[in-house]
């Protein structure tokens, strides 16, 4: 794996998301997490289908997160 192009903020914690480069923009990260949480917790599509799509997308993009 190549080195990250953007390092996390110096005060980032150990959370894999907020402790990543995304921690540079806490306001947009919070808005994204609200959208993501709505998608997963308040949706009508079953979780298996969403998880398959998520993993397939991650594999297509070669994204380890």
């Amino acid at each position: 794996m190549s080195a990250a192009r953007i390092l996390p903020p110096a005060d980032a914690g150990s959370d894999p998301i907020s402790g990543s480069a995304l921690g540079h923009q806490p306001e947009s990260l919070a808005a994204f997490m609200k959208l993501y949480g709505t998608l997963w917790s308040h949706g009508i599509l079953d979780h298996s289908t969403k998880e398959m799509a998520r993993i397939r997308n991650a594999r297509t993009l070669d994204c380890g997160v």
Binding site: P9, E27, S28, A31, L39, L61, D62
Partner: protein, 157 residues
Amino acid sequence: MTWLPETAPGANPLERVFGLRPNLFEAWRGFAQIFWEKRLLDPVLLELVRLRVAQMHEARFPLASRRPEARAAGLDEAKLAELEHWWRSPSFTEAERACLRFAEQFVLDAKGMSDEQARPVIAALGAKGAVALVEALAIFDGFGRFCRMLEIEPEDR
């Protein structure tokens, strides 16, 4: 016009489709708006990449709109008329060119992004700005695909 068999009440084609899932629509709008409301990036730059991504998807709905924040900041139609061939126009700054190149690679093949493409963006925007740009591109790219897939198109006036 969308091929969906059912639509929601709404003032425009987007509201009538995305309104089928109102909680998702509200959360999406909150995310999409924050880049403009909080000025996470220069509004002219943001509008240029938004429209360039829409051009690549040939997504007529986002192409038909203009962000007032960008217009207020000085972006005019003469410059936008050159956006489709930005690389041969002198109207675009070096930072804009770097971000447009980055945006195009993002849409075409994000995992193929090279250090040579990323470095000038980080140099121009800093880490905070580069993160905001990538997040904004995710919104614009996803929205373009969403509009194309669901055939959300501007209404003829």
